[in-house]
């Protein structure tokens, strides 16, 4: 009897393996597909309004203009220019993200006309005092995480993959993220972030996706809620423009110094 079971197991095991990929492989496959579908936009620019809310619901606003250059086989290049608050008006943030190596980051301080390099260990730090960390807003490359598919489920009327991803880069503030990925768009609908202790820290929800160039999906609104502090940040994206003809030159130190 025992022998028979063993035989049966030996016969079925390889078949099962070939038929059903592991949750890790499936998770990675979803990430690769999402990345593939969001490839080819070349460059984009957009305007961002950040609304920061404290525990009492008091609001503070930030205005940022963004330009991004798609870099094939590495992370994207991004230039952000701050319009408000007024005391940081003209401050510009340049980043070269990399899929494996640490990102390169520089800040231009207009009062001193000085470019300062920033070490990239600030991943977990808050961006502009908001509930978004630097690692939440920089370019999301496939290699930056490892993945594990959990299950498929309906989320707010959409079919979604539910998967976990684990930061593979240094200095992350998270142990894992659970993401609901829309099956049609291959874009996130919701991400729940777990802190270094493994506790639920923040939830990011995406709203009002629009499709650009019949291909690329961008959410108009993102809501990040911090479950520990009860503070929240809303990102309102507008004026998306694709394929502006940007080149590396539009993301170099000379451009950083005259970015306004």
């Amino acid at each position: 009897m025992k022998k028979r079971i063993l035989l049966l197991a030996l016969l079925t095991l390889p078949q099962l393996n070939a038929w059903a990929e592991t949750p890790e492989k499936k998770g990675l496959a979803i990430a690769i597909e999402a990345d593939k579908r969001d490839t080819g936009w070349q460059d984009q620019q957009s305007e961002l309004k950040m609304i920061l809310r404290n525990r009492q619901g008091q609001e503070t606003q930030r205005d940022i203009r963004n330009r991004q250059l798609e870099v094939i086989d590495d992370g994207d290049k991004a230039l952000s220019i701050f319009d408000s608050p007024r005391d940081v008006k003209g401050t510009a943030f340049l980043s070269y993200t990399h899929s494996k190596a640490p990102d390169d980051q520089w800040l231009f301080l207009p009062a001193l006309k000085r470019v300062k390099r920033i070490s990239s260990n600030n991943k977990s730090g808050p961006f502009m005092g908001s509930e978004f960390a630097y690692e939440d807003i920089t370019s999301q490359e496939v290699d930056k995480y490892t993945y594990k598919w959990l299950n498929d489920e309906a989320y707010e009327g959409s079919d979604a993959f539910v998967m976990e991803r684990y930061p593979a880069y240094k200095h992350s503030g998270y142990t894992k993220q659970v993401a609901w990925i829309d099956k049609k768009m291959y874009q996130p609908l919701k991400i729940v972030f777990y802190d270094r202790k493994g506790d639920k820290l923040k939830t990011l929800t995406y709203y009002d996706y629009k499709q650009y160039l019949d291909t690329f999906w961008r959410a108009d609104r993102m809501e990040m809620i911090n479950h520990i502090t009860n503070k929240s940040t809303t990102l309102l994206w507008s004026d998306y423009k694709f394929r502006n003809g940007f080149s590396e030159r539009d993301f170099d130190q000379n451009t950083l110094k005259r970015a306004r």
Binding site: K89, S119, S247
Partner: protein
């Protein structure tokens, strides 16, 4: 962080020296600039895509309070001053061309020299794929270190604004940048020299004998009309930021001689050649920084360097606060003869960034002279109030300053400065 006149270093008459009377450079230019800017909205509204002309800027009120009684006659213990710095910006040609105008005016309660006006910027930039042409009055910053800025030489220091050497006077220039795969080559023609500002008789943070800026002596035959030249190659190679520069022209740092009746210091501006190197790299959490210069023409050829690191602990004790630790070594091979207080000094500092909505920050640093144990302590803190106000606080103290240190005349000038800025 500190720049100041070195009284011990008198002119040695090696060169043909010429005297120049009151040549207030800023005033006539300010009028021209205002005239230009008034015409501007009308002349540029017809051009292509870009932001419409836009005014912004700030108004500030500043209070300085000194801990000790003044050392010299005419000085005071409390000072109030106010400044205004509007800014007009416009770009067109899809951002490839831009115009910037930034006048600045400060009025001080007592110090006639601190009451001053300047054009920080009045410039036009045209950018192309492989070059940028930048012309007009501009400010250019070179360098990477925090404690002092050796390599930075294009602009004159506006010392009356702050002794940290980070406030600069606008410099007329034509700057062509050649932008290639091998880096950026910046070529500068700098017509006209800006004289350094110094506190007046009633000002604190000055030499025992006040500096008579109106009587400055120049090595250049055409005085402050001398055209200076500079070139800089800068490049990013992986994790490295590299800058190599050379400057030929009138030194931004003067030497000093005493006037005939022994009542004032006269600045002496020599023609110098200065080569500079700045290097910066990031290795994990560490930023490593180095600035080196070699200068000829003022004393004998000498070299100086600043080098150190900045290490940042992100999210201190699971909070949102970042703690940076900065340390730099400051060296000048002229030793004690140097017209600098930083010939063999070490700086240890910390930068605390709270990452809060109000962007609260504290930078504190101590510079210790390893030869005479003089100590210079420095705190800069800032916090946004509401969305358009900012509060800045500065504390500077001087302790254990020996009588042969160029900082000796500042030994009783420990002070607290509070500045409230309104941005518009």
């Amino acid at each position: 962080m500190l720049k100041f006149p070195a009284p011990g270093n008198a002119a040695h008459g090696k060169y043909k020296l010429t005297r120049k009377g009151l040549a207030k450079w800023a005033a006539p230019n300010l009028i021209t600039a205002l005239a230009v800017s008034l015409l501007l909205p009308a002349t540029t509204s017809a051009s292509g895509a870009g932001t419409n002309g836009e005014w912004s800027g700030n108004i500030a009120i500043e209070a300085r309070s000194f801990a000790h009684a003044p050392l010299f006659d005419d000085q005071h213990s409390q000072y109030l001053s106010a400044s205004v710095q509007p800014e007009y910006f416009r770009d067109w040609d899809n951002g490839r061309q831009s115009f910037l105008f930034t006048p600045f005016v400060r009025i001080d309660q007592y110090d006639d020299e601190k009451t001053h006006a300047d054009i920080r910027e009045l410039s036009w930039i045209k950018a192309s794929d492989t070059w940028e042409l930048r012309a007009g009055i501009r400010k250019v910053y070179w360098g990477v270190t925090e404690s002092q800025h050796l390599v930075d030489i294009i602009n004159q220091t506006d010392t009356v604004e702050n002794v940290d050497g980070e406030d600069k006077l606008g410099q007329p220039m034509i700057n062509l940048a050649l932008i290639q795969d091998w880096g950026t080559l910046d070529l500068f023609v700098l017509p006209g020299f800006r004289e350094r500002t110094f506190p007046g008789k009633e000002g604190r943070l000055r030499t025992q004998l006040p500096v008579d800026t109106g009587k400055a002596i120049y090595e250049a035959g055409n005085d402050e009309q001398h055209t200076d030249l500079a070139v800089r190659w800068s490049h990013i190679i992986g994790d490295w930021d590299i800058g190599l520069s050379h400057f030929y022209g009138t030194s931004r740092d003067p030497r000093f001689t005493i006037n005939k009746d022994g009542t004032a210091l006269i600045p002496v501006y020599d023609i110098i050649n200065q080569s500079g190197l700045s290097l910066q790299t990031v290795i994990n959490e560490w930023l490593w920084k180095l600035e080196m210069i070699s200068r000829n023409g003022q004393d004998d050829r000498y070299a100086a360097l600043t080098g150190g690191f900045e290490y940042t602990l992100v999210g201190l004790f699971e909070s949102q606060t970042d703690l940076g630790i900065i340390s730099e070594y400051l060296y000048d091979d002229r030793d004690e003869a140097a017209a600098t207080a930083f010939q063999n000094d070490i700086m240890i500092g910390t930068r605390i960034t709270f990452n809060d909505v109000q962007s609260t920050e504290i930078l504190a640093g101590l510079i210790v002279d390893l030869d005479n144990e003089g100590r210079l302590f420095n705190v800069e803190a800032s916090r946004r109030l509401g969305s358009t106000w900012k509060l800045n606080l500065e504390i500077r103290t001087f302790s254990n300053i020996s009588s042969n240190d160029p900082l000796y005349s500042l030994r009783d000038d420990d002070h607290l400065q509070i500045e409230l800025v309104k941005y518009f």
